[in-house]
Amino acid sequence: MNTAVNRIKEFLGPEIAGPGLAFVAVMLFFSLASPQFLSSATFGSVAFQLPELGLLTLAMLLPVLTGGLNLAITFTANLAGLTVAWVLQANGGVDASMASFVLGCILAIAVGAATGVVMGLVIAYTRAHPILVSLSMMIFVRGLGEFLTRGGDISGFPAFLQPIGHGSLAGIPIPLLIFIVCVLVWHVLLTRLKLGFNTYMIGSNIDAARYSGVNTRKVLVLVYTLSGAMSAVAGIIMLARFNSVRVGHGESYLLITVLACFLGGVNPFGGFGRVIPVFVALVVLQLLSSGLNLMGANQHLATAVWGILLIAVMILRWLAAQLMIFNRRKG
């Protein structure tokens, strides 16, 4: 019994408090404010919208844990989507086969991973700041994508893509299922693999990690590679959801992913943070936006409320820290 409780605690991590409270607060507020909030429609909309932002946030999470950042995630996702689109078009467009889609996905993930390999190598060997490196990569990928598409959309995909973006399996939306699988993969990676362990250590002190025998360059390259690959998965889901690809899709998500990490208790300087609290934080952000939508608020207002929420979280964290210091002094 006790060990089971400990296991759950271990799974959630100490960072769960913030997003957990926010979750309860948001649920309470909207349930009271709007009678339709607690309905399957709300949760359907959350479940379908969550994965795009969620997958991109997972892509952002790993570099943030190393004390870095990957600003190229959204355009890498677009480039990966374009890769799938081109493969489908080359194989008959609307009539393309399942096999060509699978091939497209593999190539897309390879393209995403390739952007990560390049960033990882540059960051690991030159020790240039990740913001600069990934910003350069972002501009390169965006420019490349716009050049190849001349700024237009690509659409016209086979019908079997429809369920991937909009279908459900046993009542659970397929994009959500893919996202949950990715969350669990990231969770295992960070808590049970050497790579994850070393990611945290590098995030706190890369030199001390190196002196302890951690292959810091390899870890950095792998982290950015996985980040790129996860961006590609996001790109594929976005393709299926919108039934089209355009460079710039999901661009507004970029900074939200950083904030979602932060809301999920990830240390912005690296070294600390867990996947599950970040997942809860994403659910909170999405509930907030759907709830406001339901109450007839403008989508832009929802974005503004996200900003306010995050500022409030910062102030509350500071207050909580003050309270802890105060209690320790007293004790």
């Binding site: 271990e10 945290y200 706190s204 002190n205 001390a208 002196y211 025998g213 600390f272």
Partner: protein
């Protein structure tokens, strides 16, 4: 307070009845402290004994509890303020120097003279002249227009002293001034302190490097656990006596050296060289042996250790482990081969301070806590619990940040981290830096036990007594070369010290 022994002079500074409480803990208990004009005074005590608190009261950073009497230069105060302290000539040179590396020497020395003046223009000509004058008084020639970052730590310290002199100092506190200096730099600093003292400026040293302090000071004030132990003339004082006063314990050390000539050779180094750092180094270490390496800062000790640990590449020469030649392309190879290196810089290289005790302990041996290809929390907990019990580390929870531990306990975690890799050779680089005098004995107790179990150990330290008492053989390095060998069983501590500080 009793009269100051051996003097009839009126004190420049005298404090009585100083009490200070932080969060329920008494940091200072009814402490008195006196400094004579122009004397060199040593303030000694372990970490947490109240030295810094006392200095902060004198410089006006903290306000002592009611009842305190501070007499300075003929005036009586109940507390100081930073402004009065500075204006009346009390200056502190902090350990981190508090200088601006990007600014010029002149700006660093003279910036205080232009603060708050009206009109708010900066006269660089005046600053230049003030700086030149201050450095001249110290007998030092530096280019005052060069940025400070071009200069070494020792020279920066001189800049900090020059800045204090510009403020018309009568009383200068120096916080651990020699911690990062080489011997010749320390000698130069001591010269400067002597000339300051001769010109009537009183200097208070706060230091744990007792050798130098005893060489230069006139009197010694010892604090322990926030209380005054006593004021002593330095004449006739020994290091071990001061240590005893600081800790309240008797550390009569015994030479531990033993003969290990029959044990198998673990590490054999032949003619190892790396230009500019070490040259033509040959030695071996046997199983169960503790080889001491001493020498001044910059003698190439750490560079040699890093070369053995695969983090620096030697240009020529060979290293063999158990008779087999080895060549490492990184420290991961060295760790795999059975070499462990405890860094001299525990805060930024030895341990990952914000991370947990458990994670710091297992970082170098993750493969041993795997189960079914995944890291196992249970196995991690067990491994950590075993090492903590083995080395007698005092911790709260395994998940606490390692930075919450004391220096001595942190060092034990760092040692445990390397022992968990099952090494054949353990290199300990300055293992007692930042460890309280009282806890040092415990560290060496562990080292002795490890040697007994057959581990080969290289003990690097710039404190000669540490290697003299704890090593079987002592290698003296100077300017990157082997300058001599000593056997603690057949030579005295003074012989080695004389050679090292020659």
């Amino acid at each position: 307070m009793a009269d100051i022994p051996g003097t009839g002079a009126k004190p420049l500074l005298s404090l009585h009845n100083i009490n200070m409480t932080f969060g329920g803990i008494k940091a200072l208990k009814n402490v008195s402290f006196e400094v004579l004009p122009g004397e060199v005074h040593c303030l000694a005590g372990e970490n947490g004994s109240g030295k810094s608190t006392l200095i902060k009261i004198i410089t006006g950073v903290y306000r002592p509890e009611d009842g305190a009497v501070i007499e300075y230069d003929g005036q009586t105060y109940s507390h100081m303020s930073p402004v009065t302290a500075q204006a009346s000539g009390i200056q502190v040179i902090w350990q981190d120097l508090a200088l601006f590396p990007e600014m010029t020497v002149a700006e660093n020395i003279a910036f205080q003279t232009v603060i708050g003046r009206w009109p708010r223009f900066v006269n660089y000509r005046t600053m230049h002249d003030i700086a030149v004058k201050a450095l001249k008084r110290l007998g030092v020639a530096l280019d005052v227009d060069a940025p400070l970052k071009d200069y070494s730590i020792a020279q920066r310290q001189i800049v900090a002293i020059a800045r204090a002199l510009v403020g018309e100092a009568k009383l200068v506190f120096m916080d651990e001034p020699t911690a990062s200096l080489t011997q010749s730099e320390t000698d130069h600093l001591i010269e400067i302190v002597r000339s300051l003292s001769a010109s009537g400026v009183a200097v208070v040293f706060v230091s744990h490097r007792l050798a130098e302090v005893l060489e230069i000071s006139n009197r010694l004030t010892v604090l322990r656990d926030g209380a005054l132990v006593g004021v002593y003339p330095v004449e006739g004082m020994t290091q071990s006596r001061v240590t005893e006063l600081m800790t309240g314990k008797n550390f009569d050390q015994q030479v531990r050296a033993k003969s290990v000539r029959d044990n198998p050779i673990v590490l054999e180094v032949k003619r190892l060289s790396r230009p500019g750092q070490f040259h033509d180094i040959s030695f071996n270490v046997r199983s169960g042996e503790t080889l001491g390496i001493t020498g001044l800062l910059g003698a190439g000790r750490t560079e040699l250790a890093l070369a053995l640990f695969g983090m620096l590449k030697p240009r020529s020469g060979s290293v063999s482990l158990h008779g087999k030649p080895v060549r490492f392309s990184s420290n991961r190879d060295a760790i795999k081969a059975g070499i462990a290196y405890l860094s001299e810089d525990r805060l930024s290289l030895g341990l990952i301070q914000p991370q947990s005790i458990a994670d710091n302990l297992v970082i170098a041996s993750l493969d041993s806590i795997k189960s079914g290809g995944l890291l196992s929390d249970d196995r991690k907990r067990q491994l950590v619990a075993r090492w903590i019990a083995d080395l007698g580390v005092k911790i709260g929870r395994q998940s606490d940040a390692v930075s919450t531990l004391s220096g001595g306990n942190q060092q034990r975690i760092a040692i445990a981290k390397w022992l968990a890799t099952d090494p054949k050779l353990l290199i300990l680089d300055a293992p007692t830096v930042g460890v309280d005098v009282g806890a040092r004995a415990g560290i060496f107790e562990i080292v002795a036990k490890l040697a007994e179990s057959g581990l080969a150990i290289i003990l690097i330290s710039d404190e000669v007594p540490e290697v003299y008492f704890n090593a079987d053989r002592v290698l003296h390095m100077a300017q990157g070369q082997i300058a001599g060998w000593f056997d603690p069983q057949s030579c005295s501590l003074q012989e080695i010290e004389a050679a090292v500080y020659a």
